[in-house]
Symmetry: C2
Subunit: 251 residues, 2 copies
């Protein structure tokens, strides 16, 4: 079996963050095509929520803790991000990829905003059977706050470590981590303090590029390398070819 790959699809790659949950069909088609062309690679996909879920999470003030008044927000927020997940899964299946949506609300438990417990053995089994699990940023029950928002990036960090992925790629709407106009080719826990990281085009409740880098540097510290590249370079990443993006690795 080829080495399993964890591929993160940025929320802003999949939806127009300015608009009300509008899916960027051209990117979804491009991604599905590239994945279909690499169907022998065991693949786990995590996608961000993009413009889905964030408005609902804000409206119900989910980040401030769960009460009787706002607990409806768990259902409403989850429904919104699940809808995006269904669209992603459908696009992949249309290209013959055996994709199945897996919802973090159903499989995770967090404390103070961080996943502390998550069923993972079924995901490993799917990978070994040619099924592509598709997870997503989601609202998750939290033992301290009642509920919390877990970003796709936090899922990458958790699953990258728990399932010991050797190859992790993050497809974004920028060419990599930028310092000014230039892509930083390599980031390590040691160099991260020396560069001023440009933000991704849009920011959201889950932290944008800075939040992403924080998660990946933690992963690198624990020995797992990851790569950030423009979505158009997804095929290059899956091939193992140069993609002009950023590699985050241990020092």
């Amino acid at each position: 079996m080829p080495e399993p790959v964890l591929l993160k699809l940025g929320g802003s790659v999949l939806t127009k963050k300015g608009g009300p949950g509008i899916v960027r069909q051209e990117n979804l088609a491009l991604i599905s095509r590239e994945i279909a062309a690499h169907r022998k690679v065991p693949l786990l996909i995590v996608h961000g929520a993009g413009s889905c879920g964030h408005p609902e999470a804000h409206r119900f003030r989910l980040m401030e803790g769960l009460t009787v008044e706002n607990r409806e927000g768990v259902f409403v927020t989850h429904r919104s991000v699940s809808k995006l997940n269904s669209i992603v899964v459908a696009a992949l299946r249309e290209k013959g990829i055996e994709a199945i949506g897996i919802h973090p609300l159903d499989s995770c438990y967090a404390e103070n905003g961080r996943i502390v417990s998550m069923e993972c053995r079924h995901i490993r089994e799917m990978l070994s059977r040619g099924i592509v699990p598709v997870l997503h940023g989601d609202v998750v029950m939290d033992g301290m706050k009642g509920a919390t928002i877990v970003s796709g990036d936090q899922l990458v960090s958790y699953l990258g470590h728990a399932l010991r992925f050797g190859r992790i790629g993050l497809a974004t709407d920028v060419p990599g981590v930028l310092a000014g106009d230039d892509v930083i080719p390599v980031l390590t826990p040691q160099t991260i303090g020396q560069v001023r990281i440009g933000s991704s085009r849009h920011t959201d409740v889950t932290g944008g590029m800075e939040g992403k880098i924080r998660e990946l540097v933690e992963l690198a510290r624990a020995g797992t390398c990851s790569e950030i590249f423009h979505v158009e370079q997804t095929g290059a990443f899956l091939d193992g070819r140069p993609h002009g993006g950023t590699v985050v690795r241990g020092g």
Copy 2:
């Protein structure tokens, strides 16, 4: 907080097993009304798949093990039972119950047909927050066979034990466990061998009344009592009143 209750809704209570996934709306309305009238009780609901999922599981021969040829059956079967779950959740929410669907495919891992691992801490958190998790019989990844069908009854057994429920009720389309025309009022691991158990009106791949009893006797052996009653007695069970059904308990 009142003692949490685990309520199982039999598949044949929710759907007409003869037909192609037809929902028994009158039963669903009755159940939703009764649960809404007892909304102070922290409640976990598990429902059977009824006539949803079984035809798909048969068609793809999921019980014979997962191959490249039939692995599509995981998605198709899961989609079918998830649709029934959405209908149940919507009916409960319409009555103001803060119900949320939780899919076993997303949260369980089985070996040789039995759940060996399942995230449960988020379910406990939901119960403490007034959210009603609604689980269902589902296809689940299996480390031996690739995939397996986990019945609602197996979920009752697993969750009853894992979350240490003190009160477990199973709403069915018969008044209780029948020996001939009479309800057996009490079953124990000791008496189970002495009675000839009548089957529930319909049987299915997950074992009908016999499969149900096997799960509940195991639960009783481990110290957890459960009650089987006609769906029209759901209110009586939630009240703690006599329901004319069967109690399965330790000897």
